[in-house]
């Protein structure tokens, strides 16, 4: 399944890009699994996703918990806890 991934703040910096399209392998059905799969790429990905508890996520522009199912999402964003205002 093709999925657009967005990265923000230090996640984006570590990964080295703000956006990419990926083909999810079988078995990667939750945000947690997605984070683990990305971390396994090594390099900047390993650095960005070394501590999953520091990662927050949105599916199709809505915040979701890490155990959320990706389902038929078009877009998943991964980022640190927000710090606006």
């Amino acid at each position: 399944m093709a999925l657009d991934l967005l990265y923000f703040a230090w996640v984006r910096e570590a990964v080295g890009t703000g956006q990419e399209r990926v083909e999810l392998p079988e078995g990667v059905t939750t945000i947690s699994a997605l984070v683990d799969w990305l971390a396994a790429r090594g390099g900047g990905y390993a650095e960005a996703f070394a501590q999953p508890d520091r990662i927050r996520a949105a599916i199709d522009e809505r915040f979701v918990p890490l155990d959320a199912t990706i389902g038929s999402a078009r877009e998943v964003a991964l980022f640190p806890p927000v710090t606006g205002g």
């Binding site: 915040f63 606006g84 205002g85």
Partner: protein, 145 residues
């Protein structure tokens, strides 16, 4: 009347206040967040998630309008680089009575801090670092549940 803007340009709190005073409201409250100039920060940079940011802010404003019967709610948030003393965010609320306007204004800035996808990076001289989220912000946002 809800007005949500995410922009790189500066904004004018006086103009924002003037815009929400119409409509017969008896009470208008505002909050303006500024880049502090007392902790050595030379540049503050705001990143956000275009599209989601506006939707999140609009959702918060709609909640506030419904909960406090506001006649108007405005949220303006700057993104991009800012210097100390510059305005980052403006929240304005208009209601028949003062407690509603003031509570709605507090609600909006508290919840914005935890529910809108913005990220701050501070530069001090040559060193830049992403600002950590604060547990006190989570606690403040929880007050309104």
């Amino acid at each position: 009347m809800i007005d949500i803007r995410v922009q790189t340009e500066p904004f004018d709190p006086g103009a924002e206040l003037g815009a929400i005073e119409g409509g017969g409201a008896g009470a208008v409250a505002s909050f303006t967040g500024l880049v502090r100039s007392d902790d050595g920060v030379t540049t503050l940079e705001l990143e956000h998630y275009p599209g989601m940011t506006e939707a999140a802010l609009r959702d918060l404003a709609e909640q506030a309008v419904a909960r406090w019967s506001l006649s108007a709610a405005t949220i303006v948030h700057r993104v991009g680089p800012m210097a100390p003393g510059e305005r980052i965010v403006f929240v304005g609320t208009a209601a028949p009575h003062r407690q509603a306007a003031l509570d709605a204004c507090s609600f909006l800035i508290d919840r914005l801090k935890t529910e809108a996808p913005f990220w701050k990076r501070e530069t001090r001289g040559d060193e830049a670092r992403w600002v950590d989220a604060r547990t006190s912000d989570d606690a403040a946002a929880q007050r309104w549940r």
